[in-house]
């Protein structure tokens, strides 16, 4: 590399090519008192990208509730954490890897898992579970099938190999994700509160040690090139911007990191994710109020001729940046050798507030830390509700005049409702002996915190989104998503402790997207306040749109919630368990007809356009129902509990029936509209089963209507003047609709 490249000033056109605006470039020049050189421009363009600086979402995110009695770490750290009692905390966070996955789904999804796991163990927490939230175009599209197949394989490849169970998640198919799939991964970890480590660098004279993989040219510019711009037809050219994951490397890095922390050798730790060393070093310095010097010549490289700016922005995976005192360096390197992980001192903590990049001692970049991190530009949104519908209806796949019999079979076999077994069976859901409820056994995953000793409690975790409903009504749609997540926890007996979220939206510079984003965040904040489930961390993924006619994705806030349940053995199940048990609808004012077909799964299959707005939700009433169901599950009163979601009441009954291998006979009586009663959707409804007396006791706390009995080999329903019957065999056959996608 030539000496000239640091002396050469790349200039404003290069800055624009890297994603900065001309105004932003002028601000960089003001900050430096001169034009930036190549290293500095590369670092500013990344840290001032949407992905790193949250330029268009920061002001909105400040409105979210982030405090509560259980919060141990809030937004701003590598991940959030909540108190689970006994001196222990659970750390968790969700992150997106949407654009890398749209370009190269296997590695995009795999490194999404690897990245979120590093966020967890950077806190000193041992990862205990992964969940993933996936969205693709309709499976009738060959490209969507390819993306699904490879993303699932990538998640399995990384999670299975590193030995962290994948315990839950969701997969949805909508035309709005055809060219821009969503791959969000959530991870959880367990730590003693006193052992958790923060990411603020501290101690002038302390040493920066880079541990893990060597640094290559992979992923250069990922944050700015991929994550902060719309996708286009030339995305094949961006494939070199997608990182390649190595779970075996990360497995050793994980054990090495936890042993370093356990030995008390580290002052701080930060994972290298988007924007690599640039982001890790700047953020550690900014949080600690110190300066940092890094000598890129000391960084172990995969290719000898890498330029300083490439070393600083590389997104090579499986790396961590640690701070330790000078006298501990040898001990740190010894543990690195034990785990066969590179450990290399690459710099020091300095007085002042500058980040200096050196090459063999010569300064090749010199910037104020605060300019990079704290003074990154923040923009106001210019929201405006669109005057015309943004999204065309999905093509009809069900004749609008189809009868109830055909409609149920179509729903049970529809891509969004069919059994997820072909997906989750590709994931190890049981390693580390803590999975109390495996996928499909309950509405939420249940994880036993056995490290906490006798009478150890469990946590429940669920991740949910519903892009179609948020597209119909960003505010109430998002409230519904948060309530759905809390309902899944209630169905296993868990009380929410905290929330993480991933906001997946289109281009926020467009007024209609800004409106979706601001309304959705308002809904998320209101719902989480009401649920007392503060937001402890999250991620924003914007610019998820493609050139016309495709346009933006559905606005898709994905919500992950963690809750506590005291007795793991009593965790709820969704399967009907005993012949003769009574079946009840809980919630919904006891009225099946009070649901709505607006933006429902049935309306999608019928090819109906999205409505403008959804019915308002009585949030307090829903929370009352959740409380009652949770207490009944904890008391062991119910044989099964299942939240009513996509497809409505009858689909929920079918899911409990198929899971238990037991049929049901239902009588819904007289209703205004049988379609709404059978297939309408509404937050805060459950299908539960159990002894009649137990259900009647539950009725003292919440609206309960007994609607039928468990038993037999079929689901039978009488409603208004219609009687219909489906055998479990034909329902099971329909439910297996996704299997051919993985054959």
């Amino acid at each position: 590399m030539s000496q000239q490249s640091e002396a050469t000033i790349p200039g404003v056109e290069q800055a624009v090519a890297l994603g900065l605006t001309r105004e932003e470039y002028a601000r960089v020049c003001d900050e430096l008192g001169r034009e930036p050189n190549q290293v500095e421009l590369a670092m500013f363009s990344l840290l001032w990208s949407e992905h790193c600086a949250y330029k268009h979402s920061k002001k909105l995110l400040r409105t979210l509730p982030t405090e509560g009695p259980a919060v141990v770490m809030g937004p701003g750290e590598n991940a959030g954490a909540v108190d689970v009692g006994g001196g222990w905390a659970v750390a968790f966070k969700v992150e997106s890897h949407n654009h890398p996955s749209a370009v190269e789904p296997f590695q995009g999804a795999a490194t999404g898992v690897g990245g979120i796991l590093r966020d967890i163990f950077a806190l000193g927490a041992r990862p205990i579970a992964v969940l993933d939230s996936l969205r693709f175009g309709e499976p009738t599209s060959e490209r969507s099938r390819y993306l699904l197949d490879r993303a699932v394989a990538g998640i399995g490849h990384y999670g299975n190999s590193i030995g962290v169970p994948t315990v839950g998640g969701e997969v949805y198919f909508e035309p709005a994700y055809e060219t821009n799939c969503l791959v969000n991964a959530m991870a959880l970890g367990l730590a003693r509160k006193e052992d958790m480590v923060r990411s603020a660098a501290a101690g002038v004279g302390n040493v920066l040690v880079l541990i893990g993989a060597s640094t290559g040219r992979d992923g250069i510019g990922g944050a700015s090139v991929l994550a902060s711009a719309e996708l286009s037809d030339e995305d094949d050219d961006k494939r070199p911007s997608v990182q390649v994951g190595d779970p075996f490397e990360e497995s050793r890095l994980l054990e090495c990191s936890l042993e370093l922390l356990d030995a008390g050798l580290l002052v701080a730790m930060q994972d290298l994710g988007a924007a690599g060393l640039t982001s890790a070093a700047s953020e550690m310095a900014a949080k600690g109020g110190v300066g940092i010097e890094i000598d890129v010549a000391k960084v172990p490289l995969r290719e000898a001729d890498m330029e300083p700016f490439e070393v600083m922005v590389s997104e090579s995976q499986e790396r961590m940046l640690c701070v330790c005192t000078p006298e501990n360096v040898d001990a740190v390197l010894e543990i690195c050798r034990k785990w066969e992980v590179h450990g290399t001192p690459i710099g020091t903590i300095t007085e002042g507030d500058r980040i200096r990049v050196l090459r063999d001692g010569e300064v090749v970049g010199d910037m104020p830390v605060a300019a990079l991190v704290d003074r990154a530009p923040v923009y106001d949104l210019d929201p405006a509700k669109p005057s015309e519908p943004i999204y065309p209806p999905a093509p009809a796949t069900l004749d609008p005049h189809a009868d109830v019999r055909a409609a149920l079979l179509a729903l049970v076999g529809s891509p969004n409702i069919a059994s997820r077994r072909p997906v989750y069976e590709q994931y190890d859901s049981i390693v580390w002996s803590r999975t109390v409820r495996r996928p499909d056994e309950a509405d939420a995953a249940v994880l036993w915190l056995r490290e906490m000793g006798d009478d150890a409690p469990a946590i429940a975790v669920s991740i949910d989104g519903n892009g179609r409903k948020v597209a119909a009504d960003p505010y109430w749609g998002t409230v519904g998503v948060a309530l759905e997540c809390a309902a899944n926890l209630a169905a296993v007996g868990a009380q929410p402790l905290g929330t993480t979220n991933n906001l997946n939206f289109g281009n926020p510079e467009k007024p209609h997207i800004a409106w979706q984003l601001s309304e959705s965040v308002r809904g998320l904040g209101d719902a989480c306040r009401a649920l007392q489930a503060p937001i402890v961390g999250g991620n924003v993924s914007l610019y998820n749109e493609s050139p016309p006619p495709q346009g933006p994705i559905y606005p898709t806030p994905v919500v992950g919630m963690v809750g506590l349940l005291p007795d793991p053995a009593r965790a709820g199940r969704l399967a009907f368990a005993r012949e003769g048990d009574a079946i009840a609808l809980v919630g919904w004012d006891g009225e099946p007809g009070s649901a709505s077909l607006a933006a429902s799964e049935l309306s999608k299959l019928r090819g109906e356009p999205l409505p403008d707005g959804l019915p308002e939700i009585d949030v307090e009433a829903v929370i009352g129902v959740l409380d009652a169901v949770r207490d009944a599950v904890r008391a062991g009163e119910l044989a099964s509990a299942h939240d009513i979601a996509e497809g409505g009441l009858l689909v929920a009954v079918v899911e409990s029936a198929l899971a238990g291998g037991l049929g049901a006979s239902l009588d819904l009586g007289d209703v205004d509209d049988l379609w709404t009663a059978l297939f309408g959707e509404r937050p805060g409804g459950f299908i539960v089963s159990g002894a009649r007396e137990a259900l009647e006791r539950l009725g003292e706390r919440a609206p309960v209507r007994i609607i039928g009995t468990v038993g037999g080999g079929a689901v039978e329903v009488s409603v208004a003047d219609v009687s219909e019957r489906w055998t479990l065999d034909e329902l099971r056959e329909a439910h297996r609709a996704l299997e051919p996608l993985f054959a």
């Binding site: 394989a153 075996f248 497995s251 190890d428 390693v431 002996s433």
Partner: protein, 216 residues
């Protein structure tokens, strides 16, 4: 008391579960791949996971770990050795068990509770079972299709009808060596030692059998 040792290779991930299962029937000791002796243990578990990332071929690198020489000598002297999943692959690669494990016929990783049938009870591990008994144990692997020339009396466990998802020859799930003191199986008995997280406790029988014989 009997001491069961569990080897940790880089990339192993079911070693913790194996230690936890073994601790229900014996004292336990974690053994390190780079060590050259077994620290006086009475039985050895070669656990599941992805030793060396399964790079090259599952088990192909781990078999060259320093500790595997000690395991070979221990096995030759009649010591009980249990290889689970990746451990089974390692033992086949090391020549301690006949046959090989190929990628599943579906070419995908599958995690599923399966039913096994006990074929032989004349091994330490299955001495606690009845011939024909069914064990409900989870399996999770991408390369579990057993192939090999194995004498009939060395087939110890078979997948029950309908449970052979990986395409193993003759539904073989577990085989032993000629000396009957080394057993390898693809399903994970260490993940079926208590009902709360295992769905069943059937896997504990294999650990009980191993501990009982090792104590003699």
């Amino acid at each position: 008391m009997t001491v069961i040792g569990v080897i940790t290779f880089p990339g192993a991930c079911d070693d913790y579960d194996a230690l936890r299962a073994a601790a229900k029937v014996a004292d336990v000791k974690q053994l390190w791949h780079a060590d050259t002796d077994l620290d006086g243990v009475d039985a050895v578990v070669v656990p599941g996971g992805f030793s060396y990332g399964d790079y090259l071929r599952p088990g192909a690198i781990a078999r060259f770990s320093p500790i595997m020489q000690a395991v070979s000598e221990f096995a030759a002297a009649g010591g009980p050795v249990l290889g689970i999943c990746n451990g089974f692959q390692v033992l086949c690669e090391a020549g301690l068990l006949p046959g090989a494990l190929l990628p599943n016929t579906g070419l995908r990783f599958v995690c599923r509770q399966v039913e096994l049938e006990v074929v032989r009870t004349d091994t330490p591990f299955t001495s606690t079972c009845e011939v024909g008994e069914r064990l409900s144990i989870p399996a999770k692997h991408g390369s579990g299709r057993y192939v090999g020339e194995v004498p009939a009396d060395q087939v110890v466990l078979r997948y029950a009808p309908g449970h052979n998802f990986n395409g193993s020859q003759d539904d073989i799930a577990g085989v032993c060596n000629e000396g009957r003191n080394v057993l390898g199986l693809m399903p994970h008995p260490e993940h079926a030692v208590d009902v709360l997280v295992g769905g069943s406790a059937d896997g504990l029988k294999l650990f009980e059998g191993m501990a009982r014989v090792a104590a003699v």
